[in-house]
């Protein structure tokens, strides 16, 4: 069990903000600061990050001063919901280009519908089919968004193509991949 002080909302929150402020201050130190008269690209980031860092510290100190108490934590249900919803969006982001809209949507909607404890498997499958059909009707047929229903990856042959370049092209994530 963690000591109370580490389970207090404001102590944790303050620590997170201090971490973010320090990181961005560190990154900003790479840019030239310049002078007030001729501000460099680092001037404003350094000032803003320093303020953030100080405010985070202040929040932590005030929370400790008041006497830190342990506060509510995320329940396991929340964590499950969370992973499925975030997973659904991440899946969409990574695969929509390569798989195409139809297969990606089916997976994304299935994953997110499954996150609610009130959806039975039948309900989840029903929702998956209906919502996917609805989205395609609205976005592709009615509004004509330029999205491909099936992407290059749906072509099974590509799965066996061990060409790194084609792989990265299919992902189409540029430098990230």
């Amino acid at each position: 069990m963690l000591p109370n002080i580490l389970r207090s909302r404001d102590v944790l929150g303050g620590a997170l903000i201090v971490f973010i402020g320090a990181t961005s201050l560190y990154l900003a130190s790479d840019f030239s600061f310049g002078t007030s008269r001729r501000m460099g690209p680092g001037y404003f980031p350094v000032v803003a990050s320093s303020i953030l860092l100080c405010l985070g510290l202040l929040l932590m100190i005030m929370a400790i001063w008041r006497g830190a108490v342990a506060e509510g934590h995320a329940s396991p249900i929340e964590l499950r919901n969370f992973l499925q919803i975030i997973g659904a969006t991440v899946f969409f982001g990574i695969f929509v280009r390569s798989l195409g809209l139809l297969p990606t949507l089916l997976v994304t909607v299935f994953l997110s519908a499954n996150a609610s404890r009130f959806n039975s498997l039948r309900m989840t499958l029903l929702l998956t089919v209906c919502i996917t059909a609805f989205c395609i009707a609205v976005f592709i047929l009615a509004l004509g968004l330029p999205l491909q229903l099936f992407g290059p990856w749906s072509d099974i042959r590509q799965w066996f193509e061990h060409d790194a370049a084609a792989f990265s092209r299919a992902w189409n994530l540029g430098d990230v991949a």
Partner: protein
């Protein structure tokens, strides 16, 4: 040019069949998201934003603003019939509106809400038409110094009026500013915080960040508090007011309109705060305050008028100064920028057809909403039968497609996922995310103006204290911040926000 000339420009544009249709779609969709609990105007506007790219700017803005004020109408229906705020600004309406419904007077409450909103909407629209052009002309003379001071005031007001801890709101605004730094520095072309990801060269996509923090994080929050209790909707009853009831609601509606109009203009204000303030005032001036909470018709009339007036007048700083007063207005600015229009005083002057058609459409939209919400209330009640767990997978799918199609970018969707996570953590740590979005929008503008102001003053910060406009704006900021930090006043503010 006179007001009449200007309005006729607006009429010509707003009354084209296409724009009437977009206004109607906006109002209809707004009512829908207002009625459905757990789906707010912010997420809905962000979802529809990508669909507006192909439209001309005025149509896009007409439709998006229709969603915002439409949600104010729809939210009250759910509040009255279900005791659930369909939209956050109708929390107060639920107090007396639901009590009225329990007494079999749901119809009267709905009529009061709709008529009050319509009156307030009309007055506030007129106020925009009268007040915005002179304000914009004054703002045209603003230099970098005044603008920087104005933005400071905007942020300070948003922090002071945010619910919860002032320090935490301050932190969120600053975090927003830091996040807004990502991307290529405008003046020196140095990439900052881009981690060599080419998609981040233009900065973090605004739609992605707002969908993550407000859309995805909101779903996570709703899922946790979800229940399967069957929805019990009260009978609507007769949709008519007696002469006596009608007389009874006139003064609260007028007071609510006034309060809402003023609070809507303030940054951080908008519809939510306006409705709380109006309720408190009605309770104070009433000759029978004990009836409040037991189904007082004034408790519905005042706040409903106020939230709609506030929703409309919050457009004033956005349209005249290019400064958002709440996250929805921040999204509207995002929409303008995506359309290639630089928000600011130039919009009123150089794009009269955009500005005046928006004004005319607001009034037309309000009229449409009365029709949509009164005779058609039965349809909306049926919509309430759709449970949240059937609805939210569609929201996830819509947001994914919407965010992806802004730039056809996978990175944007991943950014949304990351900020969904961030938003969830912030909610858990009780950080209010609204100031973050304002900081994100205002941050780059602040840096730009600070740079210019300091270059002109040869690096001396005293310029902010020698310029009259800037002194006044900064003094107001200091006073506002001092007020919320003085314990006695802070206690009253908390009381007002909690009530």
């Amino acid at each position: 040019m006179s007001l009449i000339d200007n309005l006729s420009i607006g009429l010509a544009v707003a009354f084209t069949p296409a724009n009437l249709l977009y206004c109607f779609i906006g109002a209809l969709f707004g009512t829908l998201v207002g009625v459905l609990p757990g789906l707010g105007p912010l997420a809905s506007i962000a979802m529809l934003l990508p669909l507006t790219f192909s439209l001309p700017p005025e149509s896009a803005l007409i439709m998006l603003s229709g969603i915002y004020y439409g949600a104010q109408y729809g939210g009250s229906t759910t509040a009255i019939l279900l005791n659930l705020p369909g939209e956050s600004s109708s929390v107060v309406t639920a107090i007396d509106g639901y009590k009225m419904a329990q007494k079999g007077k749901a119809g009267q409450a709905l009529v009061t809400a709709a008529l009050g909103s319509f009156f307030a909407g009309s007055v506030a629209t007129l106020l925009i038409a009268v007040a915005a052009p002179p304000l914009a002309r004054a703002a045209l003379n603003f230099g970098a110094t005044e603008y920087f001071a104005l933005m400071v005031l905007g942020l300070v007001a948003a922090i002071s009026l945010a619910s919860g801890s002032v320090l935490k709101a301050f932190i969120m605004a600053t975090l927003g500013i830091v996040l807004g730094l990502a991307g290529t520095d405008v003046q020196t072309a140095v990439p900052r915080y881009t981690f060599n990801i080419p998609e981040l060269a233009d900065g973090i996509n605004f739609v992605a960040i707002s969908m993550g923090v407000f859309g995805i994080a909101e779903i996570l929050r709703n899922l946790t508090s979800e229940s399967t209790e069957p929805v019990r909707v009260h009978k609507v009853g007769r949709l008519r007011l007696s002469v006596q009831e009608f007389k009874q609601i006139i003064p609260p509606v007028i007071r609510g309109t006034g309060i809402g109009s003023v609070l809507g203009i303030l940054p951080g204000g908008g519809a939510l705060l306006a409705s709380f303030a109006a309720y408190a005032v009605e309770k104070k001036v009433s000759r029978h305050p004990q009836e409040f909470g037991q189904g007082a018709i004034e408790g519905v009339a005042g706040p409903e008028a106020a939230n709609n007036a506030g929703a409309q007048t919050s457009f004033i700083p956005m349209l005249t100064l290019g400064i958002p007063s709440n996250p929805v207005m921040a999204l509207m600015i995002g929409a303008l920028i995506l359309q290639g229009i630089q928000p600011g005083p130039n919009v009123v002057v150089n794009q009269p057809q955009l500005f005046w058609s928006l004004i005319v459409s607001m009034w037309v939209g309000n009229l449409m909403l009365v029709v949509l919400n009164l005779p058609l209330v039965g349809i909306w009640v049926k919509m309430l039968a759709v449970p949240y767990h059937a609805l939210f997978p569609a929201i996830v799918a819509f947001t994914c497609i919407g965010v992806f199609s802004v730039n056809n970018s996978s990175v944007d969707v991943l950014v949304m996922a990351i900020f969904g996570f961030v938003g969830f953590v912030l909610i858990k740590l009780e950080f209010e995310p609204a100031p973050l979005l304002l900081g994100f929008i205002l941050g780059p503008m602040m840096e730009e103006n600070l740079r210019r102001a300091l270059t002109l003053s040869r690096g001396s910060y005293t310029v902010f204290f020698t310029n009259t406009t800037s002194i006044i704006l900064l003094a107001i900021s200091v006073v506002m911040l001092a007020l919320v930090l003085i314990p006695a006043i802070r206690a009253r503010r908390d009381e007002a926000l909690v009530e």
